[in-house]
């Protein structure tokens, strides 16, 4: 038996390795990561780590060395170049690994703006990205963030807290509009502006030079540091096309013995980039490999800390017709309701006490 090879040593890959080992299997497990750092938590990169309240050591999923202690062969700094499905091998720098089961957990990479690759242009996906951004953002730094999604919002919030002068440029009419809708987006925009962030909404980028962003219609925003936060794309090219790797609820792909989990997986046509999905899908894949398959069927959930708000969303904001909003920009609940009056998602801001109830309601509704 050649054992399990897991490509990608982020949360999904690492959790899958742990679950396989915890399941009592004596099979060889090899966890192959492109990055040099031991498996770590990404959520803090835009928050505590960037703020300087968390160090690199605080981010590790397990203390260094404990992977080997568990009999998990961790190979870092080893990008996989090729998967040979017929011979059941993967090609990594300097060699070949044979597998009987293969798990692809390669995650995503930050989307880039073509031609915008100056020294002071940053993205945020990896620990290395966060180290570079942290070194660049200081009190008084003029930081421009392109994209008012969750990464952009969290970095903007943290940087403002560090004393940087922050401007966000967003093509949509409201921040987080794709996820939260326009009404809630406008509520959040008021909050962000009250926290001192300059917000350019409905703004298309005309040109980016090494020291300024020109917005269509004439405005120019100078910067010292530019963060491009326009989303992520799945690193699925080893196995599939640009839309992620299609799987079923057990993480099985179209190929026998090959599984996918985490951000790169498109589970029954839907790809999500949530911590809880990565963790849960990894457990489903491990259970399937171990021969007692349990599907991943949890209600989607994510959280975001920004501008003094803890946002927690349960469910998915698709197929809703209107929002029932309770509260204000300091604390609110937004229920996304479909035409039949049924909630498809609930977004809570500083309302942790309501999370469990929202999860129960949406789990029943599903």
């Amino acid at each position: 038996m050649n054992g399990v090879v897991i490509i990608g040593a982020g949360l999904a890959g690492a959790r899958c390795a742990e679950a396989l080992r915890a399941g009592g299997a004596e099979i060889p497990i090899t966890l192959v990561g492109a990055e040099h750092a031991e498996p770590y938590e990404r959520p803090a990169l835009s928050k505590g780590f960037l703020a300087g309240t968390l160090a690199e050591d605080d981010l590790f999923l397990r203390p260094p060395g404990s992977w080997e202690d568990r009999g998990i062969d961790l190979r870092l700094g080893s990008p996989v170049e090729h998967i040979d499905l017929r011979r059941r091998t993967v090609v990594v720098s300097g060699g070949e690994l044979a597998w009987s089961h293969l798990v692809v957990a390669t995650g995503t990479r930050a989307r880039r703006l073509p031609g915008v690759d100056f020294r002071n242009v940053h993205h945020l996906r990896t620990l290395d990205d966060a180290v570079a951004l942290r070194a660049a953002v200081n009190p008084g730094t003029r930081l421009v963030v392109i994209g008012a999604g969750f990464v952009g919002a969290e970095v903007a919030s943290t940087a403002a807290g560090l004393g940087a002068h922050v401007t966000i440029i967003e093509a949509e009419a409201a921040p987080l509009a794709r996820v939260a809708g326009a009404e809630v987006g406008h509520l959040l925009a008021r909050r962000w502006r009250a926290e001192g962030v300059a917000l350019h909404l409905g703004s298309q980028i005309a040109r980016v030079t090494p020291d300024r962003v020109e917005i269509v219609g004439g405005q120019t925003v100078p910067y010292d540091v530019l963060l491009v936060a326009i989303g992520a794309e799945p690193a699925s090219e080893l196995l599939a096309g640009a839309g992620g790797i299609p799987t079923d609820a057990f993480g099985r792909t179209a190929h026998d013995g090959v599984y996918a989990c985490g951000d790169v997986a498109s589970l029954e046509g839907r790809r999500v980039e949530h911590w809880t999905s990565a963790s849960g899908q990894a457990a489903a894949v491990a259970s399937t490999i171990l021969g007692s398959p349990r599907p991943y069927a949890d209600t989607p959930y994510f959280w975001s800390d920004q501008f003094g708000l803890r946002l927690q969303m349960v469910g998915t904001t698709t197929g809703w017709s209107h929002v029932e909003l309770d509260g204000d920009s300091a604390s609110f609940r937004a229920r996304y309701v479909d035409l039949e009056g049924k909630a498809v998602a609930v977004l809570l801001a500083n309302r942790a006490a309501e999370v469990a109830a929202a999860r129960r309601e949406l789990a029943t509704a599903a």
Binding site: A22, T276, S279, A352, A353, V355
Partner: protein, 71 residues
């Protein structure tokens, strides 16, 4: 079978409730919607899964005999 000592960092807890699902005899949510312990020690291995399932990393599990962090 080792005994586990459990600690919750309530300043990190977000009320997600995955710990209850994994180990319902150990964890509960209180009136603020945050996780609380029903027992301080247990031999139930499910607390390891509960700690791993917490998105905020708010749960620490120690082996009572060795004092080592188990999850």
């Amino acid at each position: 079978m080792s005994t586990h000592l459990i600690q919750i960092d309530r300043s990190l807890c977000s009320g997600f409730g995955s710990c209850l699902k994994e180990a319902p005899t150990v964890f509960a949510l209180d009136g603020d919607g945050l996780a609380t312990l029903l027992v301080a020690e247990t031999a139930d291995e499910a607390v390891l899964a509960a700690a791993a399932s917490c998105p905020m990393g708010a749960i620490a599990v120690f082996d009572l005999e060795t004092g080592q962090e188990a999850a």
